[in-house]
């Protein structure tokens, strides 16, 4: 028999933050997300949580489960033992129960201009060319589903609300390393700041929790090196527009 202890809070409905305990039916293979749905349907229709794809693709269901940020849809109840504690993502304002306001998270993401800014027009009625080898450079980086687990786990995000965050920095590297992109200098200028890569303390929590097994710490390390190069170049006045 497993019990879910869920964080409940409703600022608009006057409900103070507290934990509520629910008993789950014994069911093999049940995920945390299914358990939340079971509670919603059978015990408490007022429970609020987020989800969409139910298959670890959309990144909406990230919560803190028993000591780690994880995707509710990708985590099974069974291996977690009898008592399972679920909290919302940290460092983001809470709307209700497990639902947080993702706006600050996506605002940071937007700052790094998460879209291709190509050097030139594509060849006539064709797509931009990218070799298999060049595509490999961004291979794992494109897998980020923007779930926010890394942002929640990052102690730096606690102290600095303006910190770009592991998600945005990982995505910044994705575009910096994309051979079709032509705005490398502009991108490095955005991340080479005190609220960007230089704020990262290399704590490794983002790498630990990423449900897609990405390495945001490693991505930031790479950006740090590129940022140092960029800073030195611009200090000595020979920054080139793209390179």
């Amino acid at each position: 028999m497993a019990y879910l202890k869920i964080f409940r809070y409703d600022p608009s409905g006057g409900v103070e933050p507290h934990f509520k305990r629910y008993e789950l039916p014994p069911e093999k293979g049940m995920t945390i997300l299914e358990a939340l749905f079971w509670i919603l349907e059978n015990k408490d229709p007022s429970l609020a949580f987020r989800c969409s794809c139910r298959e670890a693709v959309c990144g909406s269901c990230a919560v803190h489960i028993n000591g780690e940020y994880r995707l509710a849809c990708k985590t099974q109840v069974d291996p977690l033992g009898e008592e399972i504690t679920i909290r919302p993502l940290t460092h983001l304002p809470i709307f209700k129960d497990l639902v947080v306001d993702m706006k600050p998270f996506f605002d940071q993401y937007e700052k790094i201009k998460p879209y291709l800014m190509p050097k030139e027009e594509p060849p006539e009625s064709k797509e931009y060319f990218q070799s298999v080898k060049d595509r490999k450079k961004i291979d794992s980086l494109v897998d980020c589903i923007l779930c926010g687990a890394c942002y929640g786990s990052c102690p730096v995000a606690m102290g600095d609300p303006d910190y770009l965050g592991p998600h945005a920095l990982l995505k910044a590297l994705r575009f910096v390393q994309d051979t079709r992109d032509g705005a490398k200098t502009e991108r490095l200028a955005i991340v080479a700041t005190e609220h960007g890569v230089f704020r990262c303390h290399t704590i490794f929590n983002c790498q630990k929790v990423c449900p897609k097994d990405l390495d945001p710490t490693g991505a930031i390390a790479k950006l740090k090196m590129k940022s140092i190069g960029f800073k030195l170049k611009s200090m000595f006045g020979f920054a080139r527009s793209a390179g």
Binding site: H64, G67, E68, R87, T90, S153, P155, M158, G159, H201, T202, I203, F204, N205, Q207, K208, V209, D215, T217, G218, A221, K222, K224, M225
Partner: protein
């Protein structure tokens, strides 16, 4: 951010992320603060000490007590932890060894233990107002 909020927030971070990464970060911060505090006190003691050699010596003699010798061992610990962990982070960042950070931490721990064992062996006799050679003689005599 006020200090209470910072302490509460830090406590929360450690509670919600019980990983080696969080712990090493926390210890790194604390050891950094301790070192800054030590440096400050050290400079005050030196800077405010009287000009002549005799008075300077007697000022320094004031910290040659058992307690201070014991604290010195702690100081060596704090310095070496901060230094080695800092090197670990630099190595992880500069050589793209972020996936190996746990292994790097073990290396740090092993080197730290070796250094501390040596430092304690050399410095502990001072706590009991004895010289290392004296202790060696006593140990030799026991054999």
């Amino acid at each position: 951010m006020n200090i209470f909020k910072a302490i509460g927030g830090t406590y929360n971070e450690v509670r919600l992320n019980p990983n080696v990464g969080t712990w090493s970060f926390l210890l790194h911060r604390l050891s950094g603060i301790l070192l800054a505090f030590y440096l400050f006190m050290h400079l005050i003691v030196i800077a405010t000490s009287p000009g002549n050699a005799g008075a300077f010596d007697s000022r320094l003699a004031a910290v040659q007590t058992r307690l201070f010798h014991l604290l010195e061992i702690g100081l060596v610990g704090v310095i070496f932890f901060h230094m080695l962990n800092g090197l670990r982070i630099l190595v992880a960042d500069f050589f793209y060894l972020t996936r190996q950070h746990q292994k790097l931490l073990w290396i740090v721990v092993i080197i730290f233990i070796i250094i501390m064992a040596y430092a304690t062996a050399v410095m502990l006799p001072k706590v009991f107002h004895r010289e290392v050679t004296e202790v060696a003689q006593i140990v030799g005599g026991l054999r």
